[in-house]
Structures are given as C-alpha cells and as structure tokens.
Subunit: 376 residues, 4 copies
C-alpha cells in the first residue's frame, strides 16, 4: 500500500501535539509528510519545513495558499492534519474539506457545538473523512474492553465511574508565563478548562467503551485556584439513556496525578476497570468469579497496529498511531473505492467530536444552573 500524501497545519517548532501527530504517523509508516503551514509565521514555517525534511516550496504561508498550490500538483496532498489552536480548527477543517481533502483534526473538533454540527454535514456532503484524535480510543486494551462489552460480558449497563485527574495546575502556573498553562486557562482560547481539556476525553471514553449514551448531566463546575477564571475541577453526575448512573470527575488541581484517566464500568453481569497510566492492563470481573488481570498479549486480546508482543509495553504514541492507521485505512479505502476494514471504524470522527461539544455545553449549562439536570 503506497503512503498517503500528507500535509499539516500547525505543529511547527516547539509544538507538542504536532510532534505527537508526526511520531504517530511515522510509527504507522503510511504517511509521507510533503507540505504544510507549520506556523502563522511564514519564516517559522520555512524553518520547520527544513527541519522536517519537507520541500521548502511546499511550506505555505496560509491554508488557502496551500490548498490552491497543492491542488495544481499531480502529487498534491490527500490528507491534512490540523493541529492549530482550538479556535482555528473549524475554519481550517472546513476549508480543507471544502477542497476535497481528508482531514485529521486534533481534539476538540471546534469551540462550539454549532460549528461542530456544520462540519459533520460538510464532511458528509463532501464524502471526506474528518477524523478527530480522541487518542485514548486507540489503546488496544480499550478496544478489547469495548469488544468485551459489545459481546455481553458486563450485561445491561448499570454504573459508570470515569475520571481524569491531573495535578499540574494546582498552583496559578498561568501567572508564571508557562505557555501551556496560559492558553489552557484563558476562556477565550480554551473555551472550557479541565472540562474541555480532559473531561472531554473522560466523557468520550465512557461512551466509546460502553456503547451507551449519556442523556443528562448534573454538574458542579469549580475554579479552585484563587484568581483563576476557568474551571479546574468538575464533578458531574451522569444518567445514561438506558437507565445507568455514574459520575465523571476531571481535575487539574489533583496533586499527585499525572494523567490519571480511569474508567470503571459495571453491569448486571460483570465489570471492567482500566487505568491510562498502565494502559496495557485491564481488570475484568464476571459475576461469581475472581477478577481477571488481562494484559495485551494474553489469549483473546487484540493487538495494535504496532504489533509488539505482549509485555513489551506500548503506550501513548502507539495508541495515537493506531488512530492514524485507522484514518489511513479509511482514506485509502475511499480512494480505492472499497469498504474500509471494520476495525478502522473505531477511530473517532466528526460525529464523535460533535457529541463531545454537546457534552461540554450541557455541563457548563448545568454548572450555571446550580447543578440542575441538563439534557445533552
């Protein structure tokens, strides 16, 4: 299978998430980075192109310039990753889709539910992929959990406890000039704080693994650090459409946690537990039995696209890479006019991204209404 011709918006010098996207794509080996608008600063873009081995002629000052120039080439880019600040995701993704280019967009998809819904329609009408990198769905043991539940292991869903605590914003780090802290605590740039950054992952993972939908939320949205003007701790009660109950906790002030993303699912027949910092492990319990400590590589577990033997730990980038593999499969299948492999459909797209925007808006609304139950 030939590599896809790949472009990138954002991700220039010093950008964290852009580098992650590139490592993920490289691990997969199905993408060839050929063009980009790596920065809003044209000089930086040029320097980044050189560093990345991209032909300087294909380092563009604007998205529009890139779209126009690449369209004129027989070997123009086919798929473009958007890794710019959140508020740019919408216009850039829209422009690319409009030009018939498949898009891989970093999360969140947009900064408003309305924009997200427009992108869903646009992608559908253009018949192009708009993948969104909710990366935790790429972990093999998360996919195993999803499959076990789909196969009936937990039975009717009853309780979901999901959380994503971090500790890095326990002080007013944003006042020290730290870049990540600054934009993530600025409501104009980030929209929501802990809720948008990590609560969104927690919500999405819960729905992804269980296959059930949250129907309403009751939320307590707080800013714990004095002077902070955006949420840094969110406690949410969840009600699922099927009657299940649960809670979600996202925090950036939970000292001691790095990325303590944890999902626990209980049904009438069994339960599952997964912890992101030990992503190769899954605790599975069927009613009337002792819990099983399942590891990638154990009989019945799936492998990732990276395909390391079990016990040789795969991690964050490998999971991210799995999404790139899935996106490549979906784009390639379209190009080749065939159905993509079923597994590639697990990778999140604009519909997922839109669902998450709806969740964020509902939580904020409930928070403003003193935790009143609010429909998603």
């Amino acid at each position: 299978m030939r590599p896809l011709r790949w472009g990138m918006i954002g991700g220039g010098e010093g950008a964290f998430i852009g580098a992650v996207h590139r490592m993920a794509a490289r691990l997969d080996g199905r993408y060839q980075l050929l063009a980009g608008v790596f920065s809003s600063d044209a000089e930086k873009t040029r320097r980044s192109a050189v560093a990345l081995g991209v032909d300087a002629a294909r380092a563009y000052p604007t998205v529009e310039a890139m779209i126009a120039a690449e369209a004129r080439r027989p070997d123009g880019v086919e798929v473009v990753s958007v890794v710019t600040p959140n508020h740019m995701h919408y216009p850039q993704s829209a422009a690319l889709l409009d030009a018939g280019i498949d898009v891989i967009c970093d999360k969140p998809l947009t900064t408003s539910l309305a924009d997200a819904e427009k992108l869903v329609k646009l992608a559908a009408s253009k018949q192009r992929l708009l993948g969104v990198t909710f990366n935790y769905t790429g972990y093999p043991m998360i996919r195993h959990a999803k499959q076990l539940i789909a196969d009936g292991l937990v039975g009717k869903l009853r309780v979901v406890q999901v959380e994503y605590p971090q500790g890095w914003l326990a002080t007013a780090l944003e006042k020290t000039g730290q870049k990540q802290a600054s934009w993530r605590t600025d409501p104009k740039q980030a929209g929501a704080g802990a809720l948008g950054d990590i609560g969104s992952h927690a919500f999405q993972l819960a729905e992804f693994v269980t296959g059930e939908k949250v129907s309403e939320v009751a939320a307590d949205v707080s800013a714990m650090v004095p002077g902070r003007v955006i949420d840094d701790n969110v406690n949410v009660l969840l009600r699922f459409a099927n009657g299940a109950r649960g809670s979600l906790w996202a925090s950036q002030v939970a000292i001691g946690h790095l990325n303590g993303h944890r999902l626990r699912v209980y049904g009438e027949k069994g339960s599952l537990l997964w912890f992101q910092e030990r992503p190769e492990e899954l605790l599975v319990c069927e009613a009337g039995q002792s819990p099983q400590f399942v590891r990638r590589g154990d009989p019945g577990t799936p492998n990732s696209s990276v395909a390391l033997p079990g016990g040789h730990p795969e991690g964050f980038i490998e999971a991210f890479s799995q999404l790139y593999t899935d996106f490549a499969e979906r784009v390639t299948a379209r190009i080749e006019s065939r159905s993509p492999k079923a597994a590639s459909l697990f990778a999140p797209d604009a519909v997922t991204g839109t669902r998450v925007m709806a969740f964020i808006e509902a939580v904020l609304k409930s928070g403003q209404a003193n935790s009143a139950w609010t429909k998603i």
Copy 2:
C-alpha cells in the same frame, strides 16, 4: 488496669457483628464479658451464654431485666455493647444510658435523626459514653492520614473523592432467603440501603480524616436490581463548608468489589489516598514531589493498640479493637476521675452518629428532589 465489666445486647448464636465486637474486645484484653441479652429468644440467650463462658444467671431475657439485676450487684456491668438490629439501637441505648451505664453501639446509631439527637443529649446529661463503632476510624493509617492533614500536609482542602463499592447485591439475593440480604434491602428494617450501610461509612470517614464538614449534597439515589425497593447505588456530589468539592459513591451492585472503601483527599499543598482492602498503606503526595508509599511501621507512623511491627498486616478486627481500646480508656478515665488520653478521643461517639444520620436524611431528600442541593 483492671478489665471493665462488660455486657452485650444482641450478638447471640450466628450473629456476625456481635462476634466481631467480641473479637475486638478480646484482642484488646480490657473487657470481661459478664452478662448479656444475646437474643430476643430467652433460650437462645441461655445457649449463647454457655458458649461464651458467661454465667447463666447473668443471661437475661430483656434489657430491663438486665439493668435491674446488674444494678443490684456490687460487680454489675459497667459498659454494654448494643449489637441488635438498627431499630432497637435507640430504645436500648437510651435505657442503658438512663441507668448510668456506658454504651458502645453498633452503627448506625439510630434510624432517625431525631432519635440520634435525643441520645446525644441523654449521654451528655448522664455524663456517660455513647461510642459508635464507625470502625474504619480505627485503622492506624487512617489516623496517620488525619494527623498529617491536621499538621497541614494537604493545606486548604479542595477536593474529596470517597467511595464504598461492593458487589454482593448485584442480583436479587434477598429473594433467595439470604438473611443479610433480606433485612438490608427491607426499608422497614434498614431505613436506607447502600446509603445507610456503607455510604454512611464513606461520609463519616471523609469528615473524620479531613476535619472539614460537608455542608450540602446533591444526590442520585437508585435501585438498580429489578424489584428492589431500596437504594443499592448512590452517587452524591459534595460541597464542603470551606469551599471544597467532591463526590461520594456507594454501591452494592459493583461486581468485582468486596469492600472497596477508598478515600482520596486533595488540598492546595498535597494529597492522600487510602484503600480499605490494603489498609496498612497510604499514598501521600506533597506538591512538587513524587508520591510516597507510606506503610504502618515506616518512620513517623503511629501504631495501633495491637502494636504489631510494620509489615505484619493488621486488618479489620485490629481496627475495630482500636475503638474498643479507646472506649475502655474513656470509660476508665471517667471512673478514675481523670482525663482520657488524647488519642482515645478519635473514637466516634453519639455526635458522630448523629452527624451521619443528618447526612443520610439529606441525601434521601436530595434524591427525592431530583438531586437538588440539600443542606445537611
């Protein structure tokens, strides 16, 4: 120090919690069981007395009979444990206090807040102890946690996550005739379900360790098992008087858990994590440092009254025994007209028991009001 002359109401043949109280008292060695009303069935009481090495003449048919007869003896009982069904706690404890006898009552203290408040007053006016066995407060590492927080390790409290999941009622066990399941799922006998049985422990532990008070709750109270008429899963948002936030989860349908009581406390300077099934361990994290894995026996940790060296695991009964040791110290100090040792004041009493009743009532009220915030 001479052993206290001890009596027991309840705890006859086959009773679980009565046996635990006796093991706890025996481990401590400061109690001599001399009298009792071990059952409402006089014949059972007599058989139990024999099995327990209690003089048959001091095995009484009723509490009133015991009080009257023991009062006439120079060596009558000084302290009595009440381990009867919940609805009997109030009248029996009241009668004993009224007669000037110190009381150790199993939790919950009563089945209504009003009754609990009456007992607080009665104990105060009679100047007698009314200890309540919220046993998790007896674990050495829980006391260490409380002390670390009192010493400022976590700083201003911000977030508390506390939970107590069990899985044993994931099916309608009560319909099989199982005795524990039957009375615990009967609203008349148990009052509340998971909330009263284990949610009460979770709440009490959170307030005990943090030293802060929950001011209001927003609760989702559910019965997950078809046909069950009492709560078996409760998700509660917590607001503390000092501004801290948190959540509490109690469940009897969480397959895979035995007694998964877990407390996590986060403040502006640090955090603490404790898990009941590994009670000798405490994870402590100060901001800017790696977490410390603290075990009983490590430098700076307190020991229990049982005083095993660290690494020789103490557990549930040892913690229970700690409360008996504390109660013995408080009763003995009163008899000897001296101040009790400070540590013995950690043991919960009627004020604690009343506070827990207030919590239960607030949660039920919030649950009936579609999770509206409700003051405690």
Copy 3:
C-alpha cells in the same frame, strides 16, 4: 466445646511474641490462660500474672514447679505455649511433653537438628502435640494455594522462587543496644541470623504450599554490615526431589522492605504468587489464560477460623490464631478420643520444625563449602 486450660512459658512484660500468642489464642476463644512462668525473674512473673488476670498462686518460678503443681490440681493446665528464647525451647518442651502436656512452641523448634529429632520421638511416644508456630501457614490464601496445587492447578512443579527480605538490620542496630537486634545477631543466642529468623519461614512455606521437598541447597551466606558476626543476607539455590529448581533469598539488609515474604510457584500447567504484606490476595495463572486476582471471599476460597467476610482484611494475628484453632482442635480431639478435623492437620508440628532445622544446617554447611550443593 469447653476452653482448654492453658499455660505459658515466657511472654512476660514487654515480650513481643508472647503477646502475639496471647492475642492469637484470645481471638480463637478456645484457650483460658490459667498458669505460667512468664519470666525467669519470679517477681516479673508475678507482675505479669496480675496484668494478665492469672491467679498469682499459679504464677510459678520455674517450669518444673509449674509442672509439679499443676499436676496436682484437678484443673491443671492441659496445653502450654513455649515462647522463651530459642535455646530454651528444647529443654522446656521436653519437660512438658514428658509430663504429658501438649506443647505449642514458637519457632524455631530447637537450636540443633539433633534436639529437634529427639522432640519428634518424644512427642510421638507420649502421644502429645508439639505444635510449632510457623505462622504464615495460617493465612487463608496460603491454604488456598496449597489446596489448588494439591488439586493439580500448577501440574508438575518446575520452579519455586521464595524470598523474605527485611531492611531493619541494614545498619549495626545491635550496637545501639536495641534488644531484638542484639540477640538476633548474636550467634550464641540466635544460631543463624537472617537464615534462622526468616529464611526458615521462606523454606517452610515453599515446602508447605508445594507439597514437594527440597533435596539439596547451594548457598551463599553473607554478613553485609561491617562488624556483624552472623549472616544477614542469604542467597540459596534450591533443587527439589522431583527435579524442580528454584532460589531462596532471605535478607535483613534490604532497605525498603518490612516483611516482604513472597512466594512464587510455577509448574507445567500454571503458577501462583503470594505476598505476605497483602496476604488476602493470591495471583493465580493457568496456562493459556490471563492471571486471576483471587481474594479471600471470592468463590471457592476458604475462610479462616476468624471468619470475616472477604474484603474485611485479616492479617498476621488472624493467621496466627488459625494455628491456635488448629492446635485446639487436635488437642481436643485427643482428649475426646476422636479424629481431629482434617484442616487442623495443616498446622505445623515437630516434624516440620525438624525439617527446618535440617534446612538451616544444610545451608550453613553449603555456605562454608563455597556454595557446594549440600543434601538436606
């Protein structure tokens, strides 16, 4: 069942292991402490008797005096625990057995293999119990492990890795006057160091659980702390009679460990892992499956004599108490001229104690022969 009339040699004021024996016996409830020689100092013995609620008339200055006086009473003691320093175990146990009294002896049974063999014969000829408190055999999950192996879960034994690291003697604590450190590092009082104190437990547990016998050892016996004249770190290769291989490590200089006793057993069909500091858990793996995380209380697991529900942690004393329960059953069965319950035969006796002495002697011999393989 009436309580056994019980006496104690050793265990006076301030004695650690004596207090453990008493707590274990009290938890069980089948022993009534009626007489004793609690110290070699008669005044201390008297004070201890008072503190323990023992009739001062039955606090004896010597073992001989106790044997003689108790023999004259219709209610003389039936079973006596020996918790004196190691070198006294032999003469005292012999004297008691000779007088027809059942004996419970702390480990090690003796300080020489020859003495131990004499006791085996004496106990047999007198038809009395000589129980030895290798207490780790009392843990419910250890008994579960033994049963699983007996039932064929691991198949033919292949590899055993057993260890018991501690860190408390990582410095020359014996030079500070610390009492435990002083006698345990004195070859005259202790015989062997880490080997005798904790290596003995590791060896005994391995044979107990697997049901297989170690046939020879190759040992590296070291004193790591400058100036120490007894072993504080022992690495031993093991060969079992059935062809299995393994290693044993005992250390008192392993900083960070409290009582890190750990046993791992591998056979042709499965494996087991147990760790003393989390004694309620057992990791079990059958070939071709994920490991199971088995906890006391899970289906199929046995309970202890204490009989707490699973998830309410039992620990060191409860395991110790199990041995006392077993000993009580065996003594009572003899008195009642019936067969003891099968489970009570798990409790270690003089044969076990003798086997451990043989191991210690073989290891020391191998150590002196530059780790040459040495038969047990």
Copy 4:
C-alpha cells in the same frame, strides 16, 4: 541536523525485530532508510524494499554487494543496522566496520566471546561505532536509576536481585513449528536458550544500573520441558567485585509472565526497584524513609528523546528509539568532529556486548560444573 543515511541487513517481510528497529529509528527521525539486504532471498529483499519505500536499485543481494555499491555513491549509507540471525552478526558487522561504516547490531553481539572481542578491537581501530541494542537501557527510568546510584543514593552496593521470567515456552512450542520457538530452542542457532535470550538482558541491566561488575557466578542451568535440548530456566548466584551478592533468574517456563524483567538494587543507604512491564515507574527507598513512587515526569526525572509529558506512557519502542537517538548523536558527532553529548554514551556498544558474551560463557561453564563458582 540532517538525517543519517541508513541501511539495514535483515529485517525483511515478517521479521519482528527488524520492524522494531525501523519503528525506533522512525520515531527518532534522524535516520533515512536508503539501502538494504533485507533477506538472504534476493526476491524477498526486493519486495521488502518496495514495501519500505527503498529504491529497488539499492536493495542488494549480499552485504558485500551493498558495501561495494554504496561506497561508489556520493550519498552512500553511513550507518547500517544488523538484524540478522545471531550467527551472522559477527561476519556482517566485521565487514561493515572494515568498510568504515558505523554499525548498530541487534543483541547478542556474536555467538562467541572470542568473536566479540575481535569486534571490539576492529571498531576501535576503525574508529567506528558498534552499537548493540540492549534496549532496556533506553528506558528513562532506568537511566534515572543509574543516575541516582551514581549520585550515591543507595551507597555501597550490597544486594542485587534481577530476573527475567517469561512463560511462552512452558510447552514444547518448538514442536508445533512456531518459528520463534524453533530457532530459539535450537542450540546451533541460538547458542544458549533463556540464558542468551533474556538472561543476557538481566545481567546487562544489573551492571548498567549499578555501575558494578559481576566477578563470578554459580549457576543451575536447566531444561524443564521434556525433550528440550537447550536451557529454559536458569538460576544464578552472583558475586560482585565490590563484595555485593545477588541472584539472577531467567526463565521461559514461568507461566503467567510476559516479559517480567525486574531489577532490585540494595545498598547501605537505600534501594531501587524497577519492573519492565510498568517501565515508567521506579520505587526508590532511602534508609529511614518511606519508599517513593517515582514516575517519569516527576521532578528530577529525565525525559526521553520522545519527550512525552509524564503520565503519557512511553514504552518499549520509545526506549529502543532512545538508543537510536544516542547512536545518531555519536555517529553525527564523529562526522562533525566534535564530542558527542554525554547522555549518548549510555547506549551500549561492543564492549557491553562482549561483557555479556563473557557472562553467558561463565554461566554455561558453571552449569556444567555442578554450579561451581566461575569467574567472568
């Protein structure tokens, strides 16, 4: 920094370790794969080249052909990875070094100590790198451990316990035609079994982290699976030059383990524990303190070349990639006539590879001499 021009010997279709090397190099981004002899079958080599995006003209039938042709190009390869079967490592590495090409060789370096020693000399005389991918040295927390020990955290080394258990060869998998099992259990192809494959890693890691040398070994070398003619379980006693003691266990029949590589180091002042399946964690204990649970990303910990934030798990490939980063730095430094960055010197080379061959030979010799102590 421009990418290095890279070639590969071995690693064609279906090869596991070759794919790992490529992923590691790609993650790093400093290597451009331009030429190769991907298989001994020329047709396979051609197909592999196409799949890997290598110019078919630079897919060579033999190493000699590649060396000759690439030498004639101005843009010939500068560094070549050797990922062929073990017995080919020596002649191929020698030929490449001889031609002035830097070499990255999969472990083991050779199949005999004598060959390894020749390669050390050849690399030195040619002033070229001969890196060997003992990949566990690339984990950030292993480097952190090495640094902590170099900084004196554990003090004088006393005890090392290192092990590498796997379970995949617990049955005679080699008789089923499974490819990995077949060559790894064939003495002609593999030299040693568990010892060479994984015991070598355990030994190398112990010396790497502690900075101390093993001076002699006493080994019990076994084949546990009936009919197997190579070792599948090795228990080794270790003596270090500085007087420290320890043991090493490597096993392929330890059911339940995937790649349970574990290192524990104890000194007079502290200890360290690391477990490969949770590679981002390190348990550190200083005497007189509770253990610290240190995670990559905690203050004071180093980052890897991949540079993910802590709590976003890095694993096996990332560690492997670290070695490629280090090798690239060392090769580039030579090309640029400057000193390489200090950290890059951590990466293992021919001297390390030779040391490991000496260990393997000593263990086999000791095993044949009934575990007699044997000098390395």
